[in-house]
């Protein structure tokens, strides 16, 4: 019995409420942090940063955001792409209008602006529930994309409607624009992902988080025991959109460098992030990361394997990749509908009992 909680006693409510109550978990967590902050930045190359880690971290932030809304507060949203676009365009306008202000502040402000937009589009959630709401959030998706496409002010009147991120630095290191190095891009995303994950954890373990979960599990009962549904739902929309806005801002400014709204923030993006949280696990912070890792890595690995190792034609590989991703999603849901996070917990449960089942 290596993995166990017996003997790991808590003597205060504070200890009991900490994020990783089990010692082994805590160590694992510190080890990962040390790896992420202390080692990877020194060994990372362009391919790993640009094709894998940067998108992974950015999507993890978006997934955290959506997980707050969908996993914790139970409001299914398909407007993620649109909200990411708000973040991207906000940061673009801010970057070009106030070139002297730090990009970090721009990104945070972009999150704030997205939060406002999120609240606006969250208003119908008071009346509309379940799948009806999910479909209704598509209104946000389509409207926002249309808006950014149509109003030239948003893309600074450029001829084609594309936006391109100018170079900005943090501590004299370029983090956006073509001159940004792989470690710089990786680190700024990592810092945001880390801080936001920590905030998400705090919010979800406190009273706000309980309000969200109460609304999710049974909104009528929640209202009767005293949760104001309006405030609970709108706060979920606000916080979620804040995260998603930051993800959008990073996606555009750090990862892509240039974007066209319909292409980069289309409905596929909404679905992608939704997949991430469902595969990762609804209502789980770890799940948001796991889901993002899964869906960012899987296609890359599959492609490299099928085309690189097996030497298949790219088109066949691409089609089969679709089939495999689809089949994997279904398989996952069958094996464990509550996602990778639950799978992980079940594995731990078994470990805890090992070697004596039951």
């Amino acid at each position: 019995m290596i993995y166990r909680e017996a003997g790991d006693f808590k003597t205060s409510y504070r200890d009991d409420g900490q994020t990783f109550p089990i010692r082994l978990d805590r160590w694992g967590y510190y080890a990962i942090l040390a790896l992420a902050f202390g080692i990877i930045p020194f060994v990372i190359n362009d391919y790993w940063a640009n094709a894998v880690l940067v998108p992974f971290l950015i999507y993890a932030i978006a997934a955290l955001g959506l997980n707050i809304l969908t996993g914790y507060a139970g409001q299914v949203s398909l407007g993620t792409g649109g909200f990411m676009a708000v973040g991207a365009y906000a940061v673009y306008k801010l970057m070009t209008a106030f070139p002297d202000v730090s990009i970090v502040i721009h990104i945070l402000l972009a999150g704030g602006i997205t939060a406002g937009v999120g609240v606006l589009f969250g208003l119908p959630s008071l009346r509309i529930k379940g799948f009806y709401l999910a479909v209704a959030t598509l209104a946000a998706q389509f409207f926002l994309v249309w808006l950014f496409n149509k109003v030239p002010w948003f893309y600074n009147y450029s001829a084609s409607g594309q936006i391109t991120a100018p170079t900005r630095t943090v501590f004299d290191q370029a983090v956006t624009g073509p001159a940004a190095t792989a470690p710089a891009k990786y680190l700024i995303c990592l810092v945001f992902a880390f801080v936001l994950a920590w905030v998400a954890r705090n919010l979800t373990r406190g009273s706000l988080g309980r309000k969200w979960m109460a609304i999710r599990d049974m909104d009528i009962a929640a209202e009767i025991i005293g949760v104001n549904p309006l405030r609970a739902k709108l706060s979920a929309f606000a916080v979620s959109s804040f995260f998603i806005g930051i993800a959008g801002a990073l996606l555009f400014a750090v990862y892509l460098g240039a974007a066209e709204v319909g292409e980069a923030f289309g409905i596929n993006k909404s679905f992608l992030v939704l997949f991430m949280i469902i595969i990762g696990g609804l209502g789980s912070i770890f799940g948001s990361f796991a889901g993002a890792a899964f869906l960012v890595l899987l296609p890359v690995l599959l492609k490299n394997f099928l085309v690189g190792n097996m030497g298949w034609p790219t088109d066949l590989a691409a089609h089969i990749e679709l089939m495999i991703v689809g089949a994997l999603i279904v398989t996952f849901l069958i094996v464990e509908p509550h996602g990778l996070a639950r799978l992980w917990r079940l594995a731990k449960d078994k470990l805890r009992l090992w070697p004596f089942p039951h």
Partner: protein
């Protein structure tokens, strides 16, 4: 006056478009009604059906590409063509087989799960079918022709020209679609409301466990409903495929059906039609009257906003079942 006539024409065409949307929405409604599953794969199902139909019609060798890549052969066609009617029948059979497999491999293992999980599973299914369609029949664009006529309906143009001094434009394909949709809806309503299997299907939607406990075989109901939905998808695939050729984008018509669904109510078959008509007319009129002022291409979002407006007043859609809220 001219404006009015044009507006009338726009409305008329909106109605026709609405019917086309409704054809897609119907498939969604059926599956939702029968299992509470929001079947995202409905669009891909339509694509898959249309691909299969064209493939059979043209005597394509399924999986040719895969076989060629694996064995170095160069198979493409059997060298025959199959008459449209027979091909449609064969495709319908394929869709039944597909329904059977979907039940066996997916749904059966997800009995009693929350709706969002089932929804996700259908998204996985959509991916899979999209890939399968491509591998089976190739990703190139195909022309679909089962003999449905397209183009201006001369009769209506002539008659209205005489009456109003302006010939209204109606696509003959749309007239067909309307006829077929009417038949489908009537048949499906009768089925769901008045037959034993229809009742069982609604029971399943409410409570899987309870349905099983009274002896309703979920497997049977699901295979049946997915087969019907597959058939409806085939019809939608034929209609849309005739218009635009059969290719990947066909699966995206699902997105046009969602506002229809939302407005009509997820559980209402007539709602799909009425919702389709309202959305069709609404988006066309808006694009026609307001569109030019705001730069056009408003249809995509306007359909959703329109549906949203309705929902704010009736959260379950126009004809959807009341959402039961009790403690």
């Amino acid at each position: 006056m001219d404006q009015l006539i044009f507006a009338a024409e726009v409305v008329l065409n909106g109605l026709m478009t609405g019917v086309m949307y409704a054809l897609v929405a119907l498939g969604f409604v059926l599956i939702f009604k029968a299992s509470g599953v929001f079947n995202y794969a409905q669009g891909v199902l339509a694509l898959f059906a249309a691909l299969t139909l064209v493939g059979i019609q043209n005597g394509q060798v399924p999986f040719a590409h895969l076989i060629n890549a694996a064995f170095g052969t160069s198979l493409h066609h059997f060298g025959w063509t199959v008459p449209a009617v027979l091909a449609v029948a064969l495709t319908a059979l394929v869709m039944v087989g597909l329904a059977f497999l979907i039940e066996k491999l997916v749904l059966q293992h997800l009995v009693g799960q929350e709706p969002i999980i089932l929804f996700m599973a259908t998204i996985g299914l959509a991916y899979f079918l999209e890939g399968l369609g491509d591998v089976m029949w190739g990703a190139d664009i195909k022309t679909l022709d089962v003999g449905l006529p397209q183009g201006i309906s001369d009769g209506i143009e002539a008659v209205t020209a005489q009456w109003f001094g302006y010939g209204f434009f109606i696509d003959r394909l749309d007239l067909w679609a309307t006829l077929i949709a009417a038949i489908l809806v009537a048949a499906l309503v009768a089925f769901a409301q008045y037959t034993k299997q229809g009742r069982a299907m609604r029971a399943v939607a409410d409570d899987h466990q309870a349905a099983m406990s009274v002896g309703i075989s979920l497997r049977f109901i699901w295979v049946m409903v997915w087969s019907i939905a597959g058939f409806v998808a085939l019809v939608a695939g034929i209609m849309w495929g005739t218009k635009s050729g059969v290719q990947f984008s066909l699966s995206l018509i699902a997105l046009k059906a969602l506002p229809v669904l939302m407005l009509g109510g997820f559980t209402s078959i007539p709602g799909a039609i009425v919702g389709g008509l309202i959305i069709g007319v609404g988006e066309k009129l808006f694009e026609f009257a307001i569109g030019p002022m705001v730069g056009g291409a408003t249809e995509n979002w306007f359909a959703y906003v329109l549906a949203l407006l309705f929902l704010v007043f009736r959260p379950q859609g126009l004809f959807g079942e009341r959402i039961i809220e009790r403690v």
